[in-house]
Symmetry: D2
Subunit: 300 residues, 4 copies
């Protein structure tokens, strides 16, 4: 198939490359010269503008957006809309908030343009191992894009699926990331307990043992074993954990749906906590203890 | 009544003083010379040894232990046992683990000595405002001690009660402290949220407003307002919160009883967290994110 | 002072009555005939329409809204706007989301109308004990309303204050309610632990003991003691806990501010959990245990 | 090698069978006639008594206990001790509390008998896929047992290791199970969120998509997909989740080590919560809301 890949950062470039390897023709666009040059080396046709990229495609045009979630997606869709025609397809493969995807699909529908939202998992390993994709959109449209998903996935019939209407793809990916937060935190706590214990355990060895035959084996554990092999004491790494939005959305969504999700929620809160260097709440607790019990305050 | 107060630290000395004010005769013993001298100034009769303190009392002897929970209580009871006779009473007013109180009461019963466990709340304010006391023990024995409790309590008929058999007093006090952890953490979180918000709120003012007419008014809030009046920015206070045992016991007890108590539990965990300067778990999370997503690691 | 009270439900009627008792003239409006009749009996001047209520006031007009948060407030402000003139004041004393209050104040400012947001605590007890009020708005405007707050508060100089600009009043009240959730949950857990323990404790007695001299004494504990006095076994009460919005907002705000607030958050989640009669998550856990361990599944 | 397997329940019988397949000679003992008959069919030599089993072995004797954790292990060791001699080896492959394993090893050392603790993961799938084993004990002893571990593990050099001194094996397995609780709860919450959402998602399809290429792929997810394939709506399964001890121990250990492990802890609490049909705490919350706000109580 022919398509335009808009956004040739780490994710977009790798996906475009995997599509090229799958026999597809990919026109690429990115504001960065460097990204464009690199993409060209991988067999992606660089295009200097959005308009030029669209022009280079047969009808119906397929435009795959692979850019950071948020206003940039809205901006690009606004630019694309006059360039596109009836029956063209805009795919958002980034980590957009699913409500935004529902809204955008409705807006594009006014112009008879089809939207598809693809929740994409796999990170930097996707190029080699294939991407897991949860696809939201109209059935006929998703069906028409099947060759793309089959090339991107780990196998033609594995790791991807049409999960529901517009928004359902990003919704499912959002929950996927919420689960990921919980799993990561579970491992992190377990290893922290073992690290503290005076059995002098070799944490890399244990991660490696668990990779085979244990109930907790997983791809995240494989990565943990890798990380511990390289840097067993995690030296030089700050205890500072970022979050990228989807955990927050999952927590908010669970509350909106009246579902109690304590573990996913606490996983997010621990990340916030990791970034509080000087917690006001903890200072106040210390001050309160001093007030009622005369307990000594540790000087800060 | 006549009694011996063993342990004239902050709590023991204040309680002995309040008993003296209530018209009771208090023989006091403490290994610290300074504590003994101070006690004497308050009308407490200093006694150089446990044996001398016991000798100074009419039968049945009443010995009130006010010492740190743990092995010291066992040691003192072992020393007291040969000095005491049938019908004498040993009161443990400290923060003993309630299972220890059950065990000790059974052991003393072999010698026909009566044990009473008194969970005591009130901290440094008890001398002035009276102590809240939850009493565990045999009904007739607790009844016989009524004049003591009436003097120690905020009012003769307020703030104390016989709550159950041996151990029930310390059990109730343990749960009291678990609740205290949860309340303190709730306030701490609320004030931390307000402190972070860019409304430039005066947290002392808000604590003070809430003290009158609001749903969250409480004695802990009064103390919080005091603390914020003295040191609104909590300068010089480390975000480091100690815990003294009863929170842990409450958490363990809840689990033992199959009662889910997330708020009391998380209050304890936040105190542990406040003392982790360099969380291994958070470092591992950061390393994992780097492995799968190529997310930058913050250097530590 | 003269003012219109719009909304004569439980809260509005009580506040209007307390204002009348304080010597103010209150014109009242409510769509319910019954509410209007009752209000008239308390010395409130019933007014058949918003327009009539406004007409009955001297300039600058003061309109106090005491209605459920949400679209009704917007609707009323839209109706009021053409009826009001430069320098008039609209007070929102309900539980509005603080961001709405910021937005509304900005919109009213275009018409030179002043907005004031009053976070009001005290519930059904406010009529008798006075209300705790956190006030947001312009300094001169809030100052001009002082006689109203002095009458509504527990005492002229207690329980109320001007805490910041528009929105700050409702923000502070929102956090107040978040803290309330945490405190309530802490008590609930503690009493649940005591109820489960085989010491056969009298929970009303214990609540009553703690009311005097203990660290956990509070107004919420007073109410708990009342509830347990009336119905010690809580018979006929479903384990089903509603929530009214401000807890959710506090949780969302904490996350937005990157403040970890686990106890307030878990207090909300426990309320959601109380309403899940047939948790899908728990069923799935049971199914998973069966898959890997052959553990028996309990039939549902 | 020659060894006795004591306990031929699901785990013991499967492990003995895998050892027989690996070329080892296994003498088996179990109080159940049926278990003994079945074991004989798999090539295990049934032995009517512990003494007979020991007698059937060459020196040094190797006895592998595979029985429920707790007093039964102590009872069996007490029976074995007079039957064993210097240099014999007792392996505990069950889920014993690690502190018990430390204590037992010390006691056996007085008799010059060696103890080895093997934390064993793999459940009902171990026979076919191999067991993951974390081994605690003296280096030379563990080394001498290598052929057994190589046969039981998924591959000779995969899925097992000598992790530390006596107790370290069971400690590591305990933490493994704590992590398992957290992972399971993370999945359960995520699927519960998706189940509640009105996108009409096919949860089995999504589990299956995620198995390939996604960040959350794992063996537990494979099992979840299996469970959802068989029973997508989880009909007939009660939302009632048991726990088997190691989760509790992990939570207690984390607190003892001053490590905050909120996700593992909350995973346990959710299991407790799943078994509370009629939460006293939630009733009390409802009663409290009624007291201060006049909020309606749902009749129970």
């Amino acid at each position: 198939m022919d398509l335009a890949m808009v956004g040739l950062g780490r994710m977009g470039a790798n996906m475009a490359e995997r599509l090229v390897r799958g026999g597809h023709r990919v026109v690429g666009h990115d504001p960065s010269e460097e990204a464009m040059t690199k993409a060209a080396e991988k067999g992606i046709e660089p295009s200097a503008s959005l308009a030029a990229a669209i022009d280079a495609l047969p009808s119906p045009r397929i435009v795959w957006l692979m850019v950071p979630a948020g206003t940039l997606v809205d901006k690009l869709i606004a630019e694309l809309e006059p360039l596109l025609s009836k029956d063209d397809i805009v795919i958002d493969g980034g980590n957009s908030m699913y409500k935004d995807s529902v809204r955008r699909a409705e807006a594009l529908r006014q112009h008879r343009i089809h939207a598809v939202d693809v929740g994409t998992s796999g990170g930097v390993w996707g190029l080699q191992e294939g991407y897991s994709m949860m696809v939201g959109g109209e059935t006929a449209i998703v069906e028409s894009l099947k060759p793309l998903f089959e090339s991107l996935a780990p196998a033609a019939d594995k790791g991807w699926g049409h999960v529901g209407p517009n928004g359902a793809g990003h919704f499912t990916k959002m929950v996927h990331n919420g689960i990921e937060y919980g799993m990561m935190q579970a491992y992190a706590e377990g290893f922290a307990i073992m690290e503290r214990k005076d059995f002098d355990l070799d944490l890399h060895q244990i991660a490696d043992i668990w990779r085979h035959g244990s109930v907790v084996r997983s791809w995240l554990l494989d990565l943990t074993a890798d990380a511990l092999a390289k840097n067993p004491s995690l030296e030089g790494i700050a205890p500072f954990v970022s979050d990228s939005g989807e955990g927050r959305w999952t927590v908010a969504e669970a509350i909106e749906l009246d579902v109690s999700a304590p573990v996913i929620t606490l996983s997010l809160l621990e990340r916030l906590r990791s970034r509080e260097q000087d917690s006001y709440g903890d200072k106040l607790l210390s001050a309160m203890r001093n007030e009622f019990g005369g307990h000594a305050i540790k000087k800060g």
